[in-house]
């Protein structure tokens, strides 16, 4: 049969956690990959900032380069794997690779959430593939599932736990009684949270992932501004304890809901009933529920981050891209065009809410609050008063029946005028 086909050369942009995993998988699963593709895969070049840095995975020194051009200008490198993360220089390098007709596999949620549509258009224009399974949910093949698995269905809800850092923090607060600051420091010590944890704890990371999931699920051009974002920074463990007493676990959920043509997308702390599967998704695991009109409720669970799980997602894309090359269909991924989006107004967003007020412990305050809510058309499912005699205050905990966001906002505005009110602490959704 003559010689073996030449190996497929991959250029890697970035050699951090995910990049190391990709190099390991290509080496350790070489047999599987060759069986799958009939060709060997080699990492020909890796773009790094500092070639001298100690790394957990060894490669020959000549593989490392600090010059993007060494990868972009190499005609043998047909596939570029971008695992730098963040917007720049990732965006410029991906654009440049696509313009040269190279196929790109990226794990970069920031890039795909902000510039996904543009990049996909550039890819199409140049006959190149752009795959991004690893951008959401680590090793969970959720992108593929939304694009292919439910291709004939009408997705109505996507919701779940898609940020491992905050889920680790919430798990520690809930199971070990840690404060937010303690749990955050632990997460940082373990490498689950970065030195600047803002993007995770303020919900931005989850919001970007929701942009990607909702765009694919609803076939609408969802933008980051369309996502109502509330993080968990400074979350009081008191609220976790109260939620626990009510039978709930607090989770940071991303939710995307479609009713007819209108959508709402949010990231917010949410009370999850303890017997709901999401309540038991702990530490750095992710879980995404997808509800389709026809398929009903489905759920996908796995490690949401980490070197090898995320590298598995990257490599599933690399395999798909190489198969497309072998079949001569690169850059021809078929799918639905996006259609116009319509965001729900606050008067159309309906949910159940939990919140906690601290008030002066005086007669009539509870009744006044109840009346205010009722007059604002927020109906109460449960209201509990917990006095703090030392401070002469009381915590008032409320879970509402289904109410519109507009009604809730109006009610909270009126409550803020209440002279007995000391603070409104936590306004969470209830699943």
């Amino acid at each position: 049969m003559g010689g073996k086909p030449a190996p497929v050369a991959v250029g890697l942009l970035g050699f951090g956690t995910v990049g190391s995993g990709v190099v390991r998988l290509i080496a350790e699963h070489a047999e599987e990959l060759e069986a799958e593709l009939g060709q060997r895969l080699v990492v020909k070049r890796i773009l790094v900032r500092d070639p001298a840095k100690e790394r957990p995975v060894k490669v020959p020194p000549e593989v490392l380069t600090t010059e993007p051009g060494v990868i972009l200008d190499d005609p043998e490198i047909r596939i570029v794997v971008e695992v730098i993360g963040g917007l720049e220089p990732a965006r410029t390098l991906v654009l440049e690779a696509l313009r040269r007709g190279k196929h790109v596999v990226t794990a970069n949620k920031d890039l795909m959430a902000l510039y996904g549509a543009d990049l996909l258009a550039v890819a199409r224009e140049h006959g190149a593939d752009l795959y991004f399974e690893a951008s959401v949910g680590g090793g969970i093949p959720i992108i593929r599932t939304l694009m292919d698995g439910f291709a004939s269905d009408r997705i109505t809800r996507i919701y779940g736990i898609i940020n491992g850092t905050t889920n680790y923090i919430l798990t520690q607060m809930s199971r070990q009684g840690r404060s937010f600051d303690e749990a955050l420091r632990e997460a940082q010590a373990l490498g689950y949270a970065e030195a600047d944890p803002s993007s995770d704890v303020d919900g931005l990371d989850a919001a970007r992932k929701m942009v990607i999931l909702a765009t694919l699920g609803f076939h609408m051009p969802i933008a980051l501004d369309d996502v109502a974002v509330q993080g968990i920074r400074g979350l009081d463990r008191k609220d976790i304890a109260y939620a626990d007493e009510f039978g709930y676990t607090v989770k940071l959920l991303g939710t995307a809901i479609r009713d007819d043509g209108s959508v709402e997308i949010a990231v917010q702390p949410t009370l999850v009933p303890k017997d709901h599967p999401l309540a038991n998704v702990s530490d750095a695991f992710n879980a995404v529920f997808v509800h389709g009109e026809a398929v009903g409720e489905t759920m996908f669970y796995g490690q949401g981050a980490g070197s090898l799980p995320t590298a598995t997602a990257v490599m599933s894309d690399v395999v798909a891209v190489i198969k497309n090359m072998l079949l001569g269909v690169s850059g021809k991924r078929l799918g639905r065009p996006l259609r116009p989006k319509r965001l729900k107004t606050p008067a159309e967003i309906v949910g159940r809410y939990f919140f906690r007020l601290t008030v002066d412990d005086a007669p009539g305050v509870l009744a006044h609050i109840a009346r205010t809510l009722s007059e604002s058309e927020v109906s109460i499912e449960r209201i509990v008063q917990v006095p703090d005699p030392a401070a002469r205050t009381a915590d008032i905990l409320i879970i509402t029946h289904a109410a519109t966001q507009a009604a809730l906002d109006a009610a909270l505005t009126r409550l803020r005028d209440l002279s007995a009110l000391r603070a409104i602490h936590a306004v969470f959704r209830v699943l």
Copy 2:
């Protein structure tokens, strides 16, 4: 631009539960499908036994035919969807369709478990696609996930609940305290179980699905004979109650485990710890765990049967097949060739076990049993004696530490010789 492209004509073999769902989806999601494919889809013909039968979904009478040739001989029908189920005439019709170069989408686990490899070879030979997402797990895209999502990984374990009928029966027994017979009759009344429930309750349906999953996951030619099958027929609710006291829920699990090159595949009643996600998978839902060396633990959950969920899986395949046609890559699905399989011997299969003995309530019996197990190298994690004074017998419940299947078999053989033994009731695995 000119006129619209001609619609893609589909021929349907069978018009039962899943077939009706397919017709509904094609009608009700016509807009989605046209957006996805740029072409309309029509069900041109449906093969039925009795055209006069009342059906939940209406189609023009001229669409129905009792003649397979009307579909097989029609050159306009490029895609045949087989939803008859069972081996014949499904096998003959699918073979005939493939030989004429028609693409086939099937929901038929019996067919794929027994003749999958042959049929895939015929398909390849004739440049036709053969897709079978709906054969396992209803609406859960598990076939796709194993084939594409984890293409670079080395799958080491696949296990889960893949038969809705038995899961409904076990849920009713466990939550409502029903006997096996009561729960079975309920399942039959609700349409969850067939008049002859053997294939479900004896574990054969689950075994066939495990053949499909293990073949895809391990890339080995797994046969039905390779699966150790134990069903739930006649399961005593006593054992469910005892398991419950020990902190477990009884589930019928399919398991496929690979250690190095050797595999074990089984379907058997299994004690699942109550805090394990599978313990909460109830009624007709399915859930499959897939463990890969790199990706770690993942889980996929959804409705394992039903008209529309299963039709969603069928239609995801129809969409994939049409995309292949549009791209000119029909019959060219790339993937790993199968490699030789090696089944573990009973001396290599290691597990924890639960079983219940009824013995004469006489002094020394418990000690004798404990000694017998110990001499057979089955070490006991927990042993509980529950006397039944009226019958002068006792139930002895045992949970073992990890032991080989060979050691357990030897121990049970020795226990059967014990003069005080009345019965060995249930030998279940412990997850």
